[in-house]
Amino acid sequence: MSQNSKVALLFIAAVAGLVGIIFLLTGGVVRNAATLYITYNFAGGVQTGTPVRVAGIQVGKVRKIEFLGGDPAQDTHVQLTIDVDAKALESIREDSQFYINMAGIIGERYVEVSTGSKDKPQVQPKAVIRGVDPPRLDQLISQGYGVMGEVMDIIEKNRGKIENMIAALDAFLTNFDPSKFGDLAKLVGNLSHLVAALDKDLPPLLAKAGPMMDDLGPVLKNAAPMLADARALLSDVRGVLKDKNMGDMLKQMISMLDTADSMIKNADHLLGNLQFVDENWIRHFLQVEGVRAYAGLGSPNIPSGSKPVDPPPLKRR
């Protein structure tokens, strides 16, 4: 072999090696590949070249990742274009799920495709499929930090109480009499019996309650229109009361009632005073008043200057 041939061989080997590496790094070309479009709302960690596995075996790669836009009305925001070996496509059915999984502790991602049911038809190439969004571990961790912070705050604020509680618990456990375990066992036994009894008695009770509940249904059903009518009535009354004329009338009526009340009181007082009046008293009164009237007017039957006679004193009965 000539010198030039050997140099050419070196060139060929180097270029072949370089092409091989670049071929591997860019994900290569999956022969007889079918393209599928998988949409996600969140596809954290997936990159171009991320492997696609069916039943745990790599059958393709993620060729392209597209952002579909930030429209909140849209269900999904990310679309992965994956190339899957045509043979593996036979295992992917319409009910197959497309998960984004994590392998190993270094966290490398891969798209895991579950094999679907046999009775479902095979997924067609270029189909758009909704993937299963991976759990947001980052959010979970950050929320966990928040919760932990709040727990720490609570602990800090109630440190004294917690210490007292622990001390009390410690004292309780220290002073706990082991002979009381028997009592505890009895308590647990009784509870067990109680639960067993409830388990036995509760079903018939509930069975009896059933018809009652059935009756309650129509009652409640009738109560609804009644309540509606009552509500309407109250509403009308409220409307009438709000009327200005009605208010004035009520005020006048109240005033009249006050007046009437006062009159009744006076009449009652008067009647109280007139209770002793009888026939004799009236006759005597009229005599006396008549004498006075006569004397005052200068009646010819009564001599001038004569003094009126006082009526007898009133006797209260």
Binding site: V7, A13, L18, I21, L25, Q58, I105
Partner: protein, 267 residues
């Protein structure tokens, strides 16, 4: 005062001379390419000269470079698996980090260091011998530029050879690392490739080739510089070879640091 400053002054002087030689080489390379374009006879002559140099520099270094890098690939796996198992109690990272260190560092630095020892020393010895036997002066007397006829072919051959060898070396190291991983850690080759490919990116390959391209230019320039400055007899040639190898190795490591740093900033 003079004794303290002397090493720095010497360093500056030597660096200046090397830079001058580098610029001269680039200029004469441009002249040679122009001559090749203008004359078929010259093209054939230069082509023949370059192929001869590539053969002596590249092909003749294949065995030593690939043997070295093969073992470096294996060592990286053994060492990493041991350390990661000790520290992290897991060897899941091994293929990824091994691939990274192979593609970004070993595939260019190890062949360059081997070439500095083998080829650089050879160039220095060749040019140094010509220098002490006044053949360089004779070339100048007959109007042949020693840089154009001695340095440029080696400059081109070394640059091309190192890029080619580095490309093959990365694959060989990757393959041996994969074999050892499979044997030692029980990780299948498919899993090794998948995990490694998750770590390495196309830019790692370009960085490796760029480093090889730079180191390939540095080695003949340093070697030729010490060859041109050889003084005395055989002892002087030996001293020049030693300096050439030592400073080539040093410059390779320093440049590797700066290129790696720049790559982490800009890529």
């Amino acid at each position: 005062m003079h004794s303290i400053a002397a090493p720095f002054l010497d360093f500056g002087r030597v660096l200046g001379q090397m830079l001058r030689l580098y610029v001269e080489s680039l200029a004469y390379l441009a002249v040679t390419i122009k001559e090749m374009a203008m004359s078929r006879k010259r093209r054939l002559a230069v082509y023949s000269s370059w192929m001869e140099q590539i053969y002596w520099i590249g092909n003749k270094s294949v065995s030593i470079v690939l043997s070295t890098i093969a073992f470096v690939g294996m060592i990286s796996i053994v060492e990493m698996s041991y350390q990661m198992n000790r520290v992290l109690h897991s060897t899941d990272f091994v293929p990824g980090f091994a691939a990274l260190i192979i593609f970004r560092e070993f595939a260019s630095v190890i062949p360059a260091s081997m070439m500095a020892g083998k080829v650089g020393a050879g160039i220095t010895a060749e040019v140094g011998s010509m220098q002490i036997t006044e053949q360089i002066d004779a070339m100048r007397l007959i109007s042949l530029n020693p840089v154009k006829y001695l340095v440029v072919p080696r400059f081109v051959a070394c640059t091309v050879s190192l890029v080619l060898l580095s490309s093959i070396a990365s694959l060989v190291a990757f393959a041996t690392a994969m074999a050892v991983t499979s044997h030692k850690l029980g990780i299948s080759p498919e899993m090794f490739i998948n995990t490694a490919l998750f770590f390495i990116k196309p830019e790692d390959i370009w960085i490796n080739l760029f480093k090889a391209f730079v180191f390939g230019q540095i080695i003949p320039i340093i070697a030729a510089h010490y060859g041109f400055h050889t003084r005395g007899g055989a002892e002087g040639v030996g001293l020049a070879c030693t300096k050439s190898v030592v400073y080539s190795g040093l410059v390779i490591v320093i440049l590797d640091f700066y290129i790696t740093w720049a790559a982490t900033v800009f890529l």
